[in-house]
């Protein structure tokens, strides 16, 4: 039963990643692209956790935590650049 649920969830999250990529490539403005990138890494965390459940292994969790940390720092840096024109003043 969990296997079937995992297949459905993999499909849905994969489609979500494809939609994010579409918005990342198309997005009319810079904040749109940053938002698409932000959503992309959150969805990648979901994909990695699903892969961890599928393989029954706990090691993908560290990768998910690293992506969460670095993605947040990247989003904040890009927004700061848009707001101030500079990251470190």
């Amino acid at each position: 039963m969990i296997e079937t649920a995992l297949v459905i969830a993999f499909t849905l999250v994969g489609l979500a990643v494809a939609l994010n990529l579409w918005r990342l490539l198309r997005g009319p403005s810079a904040p749109d692209r940053i938002l698409a990138l932000d959503t992309l890494y959150v969805n990648t965390i979901a994909l990695l956790v699903l892969l961890g459940i599928h393989l029954g292994s706990n090691i993908y969790f560290e990768a998910a935590l690293l992506i969460a940390l670095m993605g947040f720092v990247g989003t904040v840096a890009l927004c700061k650049f848009l707001l101030r024109g500079d990251i470190i003043e």
Binding site: M1, I2, T4, A5, L6, I8, A9, F10, T11, L12, V13, L15, A16, V17, L19, N20, W22, R23, S29, A30, P31, D32, I34, L35, A36, D38, T39, V42, N43, I45, A46, V49, L50, G52, I53, G56, N58, F61, A64, L65, A68, L69, F72, T75, V76, C79, K80, L82, L83
Partner: protein
């Protein structure tokens, strides 16, 4: 019974993630698009991470609380990044579907 609950959590998480990204791709202006992925983070990834916590706790026979760390981190950082994105959009004066204060007719597209 627990298996059914886990399967439900995983499918619900996938569905919410998909709906959030669908909102990101389909909605009309940036401020409504900002609203979609917020659901994806809070409900979608949250329920997938809770399912992972329960699954590994049952598999190993002892509580596995790593995933709670990711959940907490995401729940703390997602509003901060959304706030910064909204500030950047207002700074760049992106077009909005809603009328500005003091403006009668909202500009279409």
């Amino acid at each position: 019974m627990l298996e059914f609950f886990l399967a439900f959590l995983i499918v619900a998480g996938g569905a919410f993630t998909f709906i959030g990204s669908l909102g990101l791709a389909r909605l009309k202006d940036f401020y409504t698009r900002l609203h979609g992925p917020t659901k994806a983070t809070t409900l979608g990834v949250g329920s997938i991470l809770i399912a992972s916590t329960i699954y590994f706790s049952r598999l190993q026979g002892e509580p596995s609380l790593h995933e709670v760390l990711v959940t907490l981190f995401l729940f703390i950082t997602a509003p901060v990044s959304a706030h910064l994105l909204a500030k950047a959009a207002l700074h760049l004066e992106l077009p909005s579907l809603a009328p500005r204060p003091g403006q009668e007719n909202p500009p279409r597209d």
